[in-house]
C-alpha cells in the first residue's frame, strides 16, 4: 500500500483506537444524505409505478377512437385481435351524467362496459369491494366509485336516479324521459384518486340507451400482453386504421400526469441533493481543520521526503473513502429502513390516532417502493464525487504548504 493511503487510513483508524470521531461523524453525514435521497427516490419510484399501473389498468393499454360514435365497431375489434401483442379487447362508451342519491345531486363520470368482455381488459373485479362481482352488473344495476358512494351516502342495495344528456334532447322536442332508477350493485376502489372520487360503471347496453348510441360505442379498449408494447402497437394500428379511426396509448392519454410524476421525483431528488452537498461541506470543513491542526506534521512528512502530490493524496483519499463507506452505510440504511416501512407507517397512523388512515387516504397500507439501479448508481456516484472534492480542497491547501513554513508554524 502506498504510504499516503496508509497514513490516510491511520488518521481515520488511529493505532490504539478503533476509529476516529471525525470518520464516524463524516460517515453519518454522507450516510444520511445518501439514505434520504435513496429513500425518497425509491418511494417516488414505487408510487410512480403504482400510479402508472393504475393508469394503464383502469384506462386500458391502447384505445381505438373515432371522431364520435362508432356504430359498427366489430371490424375494429377484429383488427385489434389480429395483433399478436393484444390479449383482450372490449368496447366502451363514456361521458358525464347527472345523478341523485339520497337527494344529493352529483355529476359523475360514467363508463359503459361490456360485462363479458371488460374484465380481461380492465380488471374491475379486483377493485370491487366486499362480495360484489362483475356479473352482478346488469341494466338495472350500477357500480359506484368509493368516493361517489361516500358523497351520496350510498351502499350496496341503495337506489339512485340517473339523468342522461339524452333527456335534454328529448325536452327540446317536448318529450319527457324519466330518470332511470338503478340499484347500487357494488362499490369499487382502484386506488387511483381521479377515478375513485367521482365515477360510476354501468352496462354498455344501458349507456347506449341513455346516450342514444344505438348499437355503437365510443371506442375499443385493448389490453396487451406487455404494457410496454403500447406505443409500438398504437403506431402499427395507426398505420392500419382508416380515418377517422386512430389509436392512442395510456401514455398519450396521461401525458400531463406522467410528466408531473417525473417532475416531482426530479424536484424532490434535487432538493434532497443538498443534504449530500451539506455533508460534503462538513467533510471539507473537518478536513480543513485537520490540515490546520496537523500543519507541522505535514511539514515533517514533506521534510522527510513526501512530494506535495503525495501529501494531497492523504486528504483526498480520506474524502474518497468517506464517500464510499458513507454510501455503503446509506444504502444499508435505505434497505433496512424501507424493509420496516410497514411498521413505521403503522406507527405514524397510530400517532395520528387512526390505524386505517393510510388505507383510507392513500389506498395502501404499506408504501410502495421500487429500487432502480440507476438511482443508486447516480446517488452513490454523487456522494463519492462530493466527498472526494470535499477532500480535494483541504488536500490542495496541504499540498501548497512549504515544509519549512509548516515546521515553523506555531
Amino acid at each position: 500500500m502506498k504510504w499516503y493511503f496508509y497514513l490516510a487510513l491511520k488518521q481515520l483508524f488511529p493505532s490504539g483506537r478503533f476509529i476516529s470521531l471525525f470518520f464516524v461523524v463524516a460517515n453519518i453525514g454522507v450516510m444520511l444524505g445518501v439514505a434520504v435521497l435513496l429513500i425518497v427516490q425509491s418511494i417516488m419510484n414505487g408510487l410512480g409505478s403504482e400510479i402508472r399501473e393504475k393508469m394503464a389498468d383502469t384506462d386500458g393499454h391502447v384505445r381505438i377512437h373515432g371522431s364520435g360514435i362508432i356504430y359498427d365497431y366489430e371490424p375494429l375489434v377484429q383488427i385489434a385481435q389480429s395483433m399478436p401483442e393484444v390479449e383482450a379487447v372490449a368496447p366502451y362508451a363514456e361521458g358525464l351524467a347527472m345523478m341523485m342519491g339520497n337527494h344529493i345531486p352529483q355529476f359523475p363520470f360514467i363508463k359503459g362496459i361490456d360485462v363479458f368482455d371488460e374484465d380481461p381488459v380492465v380488471p374491475l373485479q379486483q377493485y370491487l369491494k366486499g362480495d360484489a362481482v362483475v356479473d352482478d352488473l346488469d341494466d338495472e344495476r350500477v357500480f359506484l366509485s368509493s368516493g361517489l358512494a361516500r358523497a351520496i351516502g350510498a351502499f350496496p342495495g341503495s337506489t339512485i336516479e340517473l339523468y342522461s344528456p339524452l333527456m335534454l334532447e328529448k325536452l327540446k322536442r317536448d318529450e319527457m324521459l324519466l330518470p332511470r332508477e338503478l340499484t347500487v350493485a357494488g362499490i369499487f376502489q382502484t386506488g387511483y384518486n381521479e377515478i375513485d372520487e367521482n365515477s360510476m360503471v354501468i352496462t354498455l347496453r344501458l349507456m347506449q340507451e341513455l346516450y342514444g348510441l344505438h348499437d355503437g360505442a365510443h371506442g375499443i379498449t385493448l389490453r396487451l400482453k406487455d404494457r410496454d408494447d403500447a406505443e409500438a402497437v398504437a403506431l402499427r394500428l395507426n398505420e392500419m386504421l382508416d380515418s377517422p379511426f386512430y389509436a392512442t396509448t395510456w401514455l398519450d392519454r396521461n401525458q400531463a400526469r406522467l410528466f408531473i410524476l417525473n417532475l416531482e421525483k426530479t424536484v424532490m431528488s434535487f432538493i434532497n441533493l443538498f443534504i449530500i452537498l451539506i455533508a460534503s461541506f462538513s467533510i471539507a470543513v473537518s478536513l480543513f481543520s485537520a490540515v490546520v491542526r496537523k500543519t507541522r506534521e505535514i511539514g515533517l512528512i514533506g521534510a522527510i521526503g513526501a512530494s506535495s502530490y503525495q501529501i494531497a493524496g492523504i486528504y483526498c483519499f480520506q474524502g474518497f473513502l468517506i464517500g464510499i463507506t458513507g454510501s455503503i452505510l446509506g444504502v444499508l440504511l435505505t434497505l433496512g429502513g424501507l424493509s420496516i416501512r410497514g411498521e413505521i407507517m403503522q406507527g405514524i397512523a397510530l400517532l395520528a390516532g387512526d390505524p386505517t388512515i393510510m388505507q383510507r387516504f392513500y389506498g395502501f397500507e404499506i408504501l410502495p417502493v421500487e429500487y432502480q439501479p440507476l438511482d443508486f448508481a447516480i446517488t452513490i456516484g454523487l456522494a463519492i464525487i462530493g466527498s472526494t472534492i470535499a477532500g480535494l480542497l483541504p488536500a490542495m491547501r496541504a499540498a501548497m504548504l512549504k515544509p519549512a513554513d509548516a515546521l515553523r508554524n506555531e
Binding site: K10, P14, S15, E297, G302, A303, I304, A404
Partner: protein, 226 residues
C-alpha cells in the same frame, strides 16, 4: 581523499519584510566530510535554522549552491529533492514531530514507507533501532503515551532508518530536561558514529557542541572563528 557529503558555496538568504529585505546568511561556504560531526552555534536569529533548512532543501537560497555528495541540488526539481532527501538525510527536530496516529514502530517505519516499498529488512531494522534507543518494550505506544525523551529517541530511530549518510539535527535537546537531553545527545552522537553518518548539529549548548568533531559559530550572516 573522499569528497564532502555536504557542501555549500556562497549561500545567501534574506527574508522579505515591509521595511525591506532582512539578510540572514551572506555567502556561507562550508563542507561536511563523510562521518564527520559538525556543530553550529549562534545567537537566536543568527540563521542556524535557516542554514539547516537551506542545506536540507526545505527552502531555496537567494544565491549560492548546496551540493549533496557533489550534486548541485537546486538545479534539480523539487520532487527529485524530496525523493533524494528521503534517503540522503535523516532529520531530527526540537519538537520531535511524530505522527500522533501511529505508534512508535510505525513512526519509525514512515521513513521507509516514504522511500518506496516497505521490506522485511526495513521492519527488522526499525525494530533493531528501537531496541538501540531503548524502546523495544514501547514499540506499540503512540506518541501521546511516550515522554519527551522517548519521543526524541523515536525521532532518532526514524532519522537513521534509511541509513542516510547525513543526519541534520535542529536543537534536538531543546525541549528536554538536562539529564534527558544529555542521554539523547549521547545517543545521537553514538548512533551517527556507529552508522557512519555525518552529523550536522544545530545547538545552543556549548557542552554538546564540544563533543562534535568541528564547531562553527554563526554570526552576522557568516561563520565566525572562536
Amino acid at each position: 581523499m573522499s569528497s564532502p557529503v555536504l557542501q555549500t558555496t556562497n549561500l545567501t538568504k534574506a527574508y522579505a519584510s515591509p521595511e525591506g529585505p532582512i539578510p540572514v546568511l551572506s555567502g556561507v561556504d562550508m563542507a561536511v566530510m563523510p562521518g564527520e560531526s559538525v556543530s553550529i552555534r549562534g545567537e537566536s536569529g543568527s540563521g542556524k535554522t535557516t542554514l539547516l533548512y537551506l542545506i536540507s532543501a526545505l527552502e531555496s537560497p537567494d544565491h549560492g549552491q548546496v551540493m549533496w555528495t557533489g550534486e548541485s541540488i537546486f538545479e534539480k526539481s523539487s520532487n527529485w529533492r524530496a525523493r533524494r532527501r528521503c534517503t540522503f538525510m535523516g532529520l531530527v527536530f526540537q519538537a520531535y514531530y511524530l505522527i500522533p496516529e501511529l505508534d512508535a514502530y510505525e513512526n519509525v517505519l514512515m521513513a521507509a514507507r516514504l522511500k518506496g516499498k516497505l521490506t522485511a529488512a526495513d521492519r527488522q531494522r526499525a525494530k533493531e533501532l528501537l531496541d538501540r534507543v531503548g524502546l523495544s518494550a514501547r514499540m506499540t505506544h503512540t506518541p501521546g503515551k511516550l515522554s519527551g525523551g522517548e519521543r526524541q529517541r523515536v525521532a532518532l530511530a526514524r532519522a537513521l532508518l534509511n541509513q542516510p549518510p547525513l543526519v541534520l539535527a535542529d536543537e534536538p535537546t531543546g525541549n528536554l530536561d538536562e539529564h534527558t537531553g544529555e542521554d539523547v545527545m549521547e545517543l545521537l552522537l553514538e548512533l551517527c558514529r556507529d552508522e557512519g553518518a555525518s552529523l550536522f548539529l544545530v545547538t545552543h549548548n556549548p557542552d554538546f557542541a564540544t563533543r562534535t568533531d568541528r564547531q562553527l559559530f554563526l554570526h552576522g550572516g557568516g561563520f565566525e572563528q572562536r
